[in-house]
Symmetry: C2
Subunit: 410 residues, 2 copies
Amino acid sequence: MADVVRLDDPSITLVPGFRAAGVACGLKADKALDLALVSAARPSPAAALFTTNRVRAAPVLHDAALMDAGKPIQAVVINSGCANACTGQRGLDDAVRTCEWTARALGCPQDAVFVMSTGVIGQPLPMTKIGAGIRDAALALSEQGGHAAARAIMTTDTRPKEAAVRVRVGRKEVTIAGMCKGAGMIHPGMATMLALLLTDAAVAPAVLKTALVRVVERTFNMATVDGDMSTNDTVVLLANGQAGNAVLDDIHSPGYEAFEDGLLAVATELAQGLVRDGEGATKFVTIRVSGAESWADAKQVAKSIATSSLVKTAVYGQDANWGRVICAAGYSGVDILPERLCLRMSGDADSLWLVRDGAPYEIDEPRAAAILADDEVTFALDLGMGQAEATVWTCDLSHSYVDINAHYRT
Amino acid sequence: MADVVRLDDPSITLVPGFRAAGVACGLKADKALDLALVSAARPSPAAALFTTNRVRAAPVLHDAALMDAGKPIQAVVINSGCANACTGQRGLDDAVRTCEWTARALGCPQDAVFVMSTGVIGQPLPMTKIGAGIRDAALALSEQGGHAAARAIMTTDTRPKEAAVRVRVGRKEVTIAGMCKGAGMIHPGMATMLALLLTDAAVAPAVLKTALVRVVERTFNMATVDGDMSTNDTVVLLANGQAGNAVLDDIHSPGYEAFEDGLLAVATELAQGLVRDGEGATKFVTIRVSGAESWADAKQVAKSIATSSLVKTAVYGQDANWGRVICAAGYSGVDILPERLCLRMSGDADSLWLVRDGAPYEIDEPRAAAILADDEVTFALDLGMGQAEATVWTCDLSHSYVDINAHYRT
């Protein structure tokens, strides 16, 4: 593992060569920031991953075509308050116009603009407001604009999510930073909700894509809040090359491993941030499944547990109802052997073997209750069948989740 | 469709030749009824379906072996308050002892006793109480005992679920009745929670199994409350033959269709009853998917919508957030074409086309709000790809669901 230095007060504009802004253009009712703009000095190699939902929002369709054409990216424009999803041809036209206006405001090629939207599904983008927002944001771009941009992409998020690290790639210091948004409709599928990752490392496009796929699979795709996969999920990574390192043009290049480690650190912090800020969440829950025959099996069992409404409500109620964990493993679809299951529950200071070899073991209700009073709880399930393991992050299901989602649009 | 006559004040003991009882033996804290016993005059052909959860409770393992051996069944003993699941060898021994004691109390063969348990996972059966309960129940058996038996199998259910019909099979009147329990940990997999179906029809064992599979696939397997599939799900059907009809020994026998129609009516009413009494449910929601290329596709899309926490909370909040319905169809895994989707929402007195050809259509918020104020709401989604359709029943996700499940054990 390379030496990864976490940066204080993280924001995307800690990466040299990028400017950002966040402005309010009236998409949100309360005059909150709702349009973010990020700009590189010149078109930069980019890689992106999108939702696997068959219903893809207009900006996703637009951006996927850009990426398929291998276009470098110079600007990213993101609005909250409206997802521009299920909006038909009008939505596609609006996504194109958003990019056109951004290109004009920045003086960059139109096909170097990447667009993202998040918010309510099925309503058209208010284009007059978008136009004003783009003009304001272009004027406000600065090397201190990262925090405002991170606030401008929030919807039901209660706080911005930002992360930044520095690693040595060859002889050069490289910075990697990112921001993301998302609190509900969060479930791994490819990329989870909107995330923008920036770096000044010099990386060849194909290697950038490989790094993104490898890292997203272990981070954003392992985070779940409610099992609902969005129509707008997008993760995009831009590398402007300004650090001056020898270009990483192969995953065996010296320095690639350090770069991937840095990217992994940033993405892990952001993905965990999504779950910590999950709608109504009172607890951060880690589900670790080991002893599986394959990583895919381990992941499938872990996801089954992590999305169980009954497991999530029991954690909220601080009830050590471990039978629900075993039950969810049982219906995961993986051919587990019940008599081999071992389950351990851990908190900050204590842990208990609740199940050994498929039967109740160290059942100590007062100690279990004390563990479940902690803010962070881990359930580690060993299947006893092989060597593979996987970790998924989830949160509890609380009254507040119902509050937030019963009246989201109103 | 044969003439199916619904019986008033339904209970399982409306079927000639069966007696039942429900007693309190102290498994539930509040002295509520918690042990049910059902007895036939003689061993009767039986068919059963069990959970597909890999973690199967001890009674499921016991009964599956009985069914594999083709044993006729004379008695069914059911306890609530303890699931006898994840209890290892001790649990298996307890299930066997329960059958042994029941056989002794009734004077029937031990391998003619079918046992079911429901309640908390991971705790051993309190056998002293079970023994006393069996003795009391055997003495209490009567032809009026159906209602008490239906109450004795309840857990978080707020009301018993019973149904009974009469159909003409050949020249004879045949009665079919059933009871079931379940309000949470309800998700289709094979059979959903505990259901006991009785009939006085004369049916060959193989035909009984076929009828059960066909009916369960369209009823219990189409009901979902929370997406959690139980370790104990069991549906069992007993046919004592007392109606004296010519034995149905082939699905092409005259009268088979009438029998299946009657069984379907009983199972439909019970399965819908599970959902109506879903934990915390305030609304009964029908998801009908049509225009699919296959029934399996239609079912998969309908289930994806029916289990979405975001759809369920929106219905609870009476918010016509149709984008969540489209979103859930999109991530169902079926290769839908977004531009062909048409979505109609209906209540008691009005209905709206919310989406036509993939785009918002008849969006009328006051009328949508009025529809969502009804107790029963239907979402009909047409995929525009084929002729197949499927219907799934679900309920909303409310604050009460979280209340009930945060502290189930305590």
